[in-house]
Symmetry: C2
Subunit: 351 residues, 2 copies
């Protein structure tokens, strides 16, 4: 399968690897999703999402996720053909029932109305419920920063994090993502799990047989462990930063689930759907137009903050690693093991 | 000065202590503020704020703050008579110029308009700039939860926290506070510094000669230290939770300063105002009406989350300690050293 220069102008890939343009990978993944139960619309959204994560080097949310997506689709747990129902809940509030489908197509379906509201009201909320979010969270906020807006989002997941002072898993990894425009470069974007680490990274460590740092998780008996398999096998993660991370995780449950009408991370069970892997919960997105208040020069102020952060010795900004990998992927193509590409092509063919 | 049963029905205070009803302490503090340069309006707001912090056992934001308030007022750095200017910036967006006054009176001045907007739009923003926030942050959000709303606020302060990976202080302690109603009890409220600890707690540890835990701060040379005096004397705090807390602190700078039009934590200097202690920055408040979306039963859902947290073994909820202390203060009066009460009465008299 190895081809010379298969990426856009890229050098010859190393033996056993291929390069694929980002759009090619997105289209291939869309075919994979469509062959495994997703509608064309849903498949297109998920294909782009996973391809962009792979492009940016988000290992735990790129191709690594494909088996989980297909397994959960095959289990009947999620509806890959769901048509989200968008409700104009209030002048600055959009509510979406994802109808047991994925969160990203629900977000897509509501985007135009959300932007209308944002432009007229100065701030707008998007509350998604009955949705499955199995992806990185930064792709949900970065596009708003590219339009000049500030965006903040919260999603809950599945019970795998012990509240601070507690004994049993209850919260999800419950990430928070934030994006803000800056005048002199790519937006400032972060995407952080409120757990001590992301669940995908625990899975990767388990697969690779690597130990985790201390104070990241407990085993099935509630005892501290550095073994990722012990965490996955009846154990649990801890919140990051002790009681503060735990409070933030509680906030994410309240915003992403109670406020949207979605499930809490402990509200659902996969028991009757063997192979199910996606949390059926909710998501809240807050988008603000900084141009409406006294912060009309927001992007210039953000640039001044970046200069000050660099001046204080902070060399790596949130998002830097992703943008660097993105530029490489966009100019050379995404580097993939040929065996993985062959497997994806096989999955795209199979009916 | 000791009087028997000076609190409302309280027992005799221990020798050397007095009890004061919450309202009495608030009124006394208002007189202190008014005698030291605040207008009656500002003095009333600050008096209640400090009395409520003392009532709730928030040691670092109660009477402990009075010398700092008076010193900063005397320095001419802050305008205790400022009249905030409220602007109707957009249908869901209120902007307030605090005119170099305190943030709490600016918030008060905008509250009615903010609530109007919230009720009509479903979500509303309050962006305060050119303001001094020297108080606990939870009092800014708890009242909204008591009205059935969800509130989230961010305030930046003064450069005393080194960004993750950096060498010099740049961020403030940059707290985040959150409040949400629950059906079966007091609102869920947290108020957390994004620094490893609150600046007031460093000052208290220094005064008491206590060492801090490791990984909380660095000395003037950027070396790790557990000595609170070394942190205050040219050193700096670290963010909580490593790069995640640092990213959240950056977000607070962007939301509380860039978005509002306020100063960053490193944008101002006290050099020309000896005695100045209050940060001249900004604050953002986001208030959401959960009844407008699919989360109409928010308070019941929050109660279910509380039950689950307790079921998972979490014994102390965010806010619990404050509410317990509040109930005691409200039934017995606030216990104060008689010497401190005498000093306050002296300060209230002096012109």
């Amino acid at each position: 399968m190895q081809r010379e220069g298969s990426g856009p102008g890229g050098p010859v890939p190393p033996p056993g690897y291929d390069r694929l343009a980002v759009g090619e990978l997105a289209a291939l993944l869309a075919r994979v999703f469509e062959r495994h139960g997703a509608s064309a619309e849903v498949a297109g959204v998920l294909g782009r999402n996973v391809a962009h994560a792979q492009r940016d080097g988000s290992d735990s949310h790129g191709l690594f996720r494909i088996p989980g997506y297909l397994s959960t689709l095959a289990s009947g747990w999620v509806d890959g053909r769901a048509v989200p129902v968008v409700t104009d809940a209030a002048p600055a509030f959009v509510s979406v029932d994802a109808r047991n489908g994925f969160a990203q197509p629900a977000h897509e379906a509501a985007r135009a109305l959300l932007l209308d509201k944002l432009r007229s009201q100065g701030v707008a909320l998007l509350a998604i419920h009955d949705s499955h979010h199995f992806a990185a969270l930064w792709p949900d906020v970065e596009p708003y920063a590219r339009l000049g807006y500030v965006a903040l989002t919260f999603v809950n997941s599945m019970a795998c994090v012990v509240p601070h002072g507690g004994k049993r898993a209850l919260f999800g990894t419950n990430p928070i993502a934030f994006a803000a425009p800056r005048a002199g470069g790519d937006p400032l974007v972060f995407d952080l799990a409120t757990s001590a680490m992301a669940h995908g990274d625990v899975q990767i460590a388990a697969r690779e047989g690597r130990d985790l740092p201390p104070e990241h998780g407990v085993d099935a008996g509630g005892r501290p462990t550095c073994d990722p398999r012990a965490i996955l096998d009846g154990g649990a993660l801890l919140p990051f930063g002790g009681h503060k991370g735990s409070a933030l995780s509680m906030m994410v449950e309240l915003l992403a689930a109670a406020l949207t009408g979605g499930n809490f991370s402990f509200d659902f069970s996969w028991d009757e759907h063997p192979g199910a892997q996606t949390p059926r919960t909710g998501q809240l997105l807050i988008v603000i137009d900084p141009g409406r208040g006294a912060g009309a020069n927001f992007a210039e102020r953000a640039e001044a903050l970046v200069r000050a952060m660099r001046g204080a010795g902070q060399e790596r900004l949130p998002g830097d690693r992703r943008y660097r990998q993105r530029r490489e992927s966009e100019s050379l193509g995404i580097l993939l093991p040929s065996s993985e590409l062959a497997r994806l092509r096989e999955l795209a063919r199979r009916l």
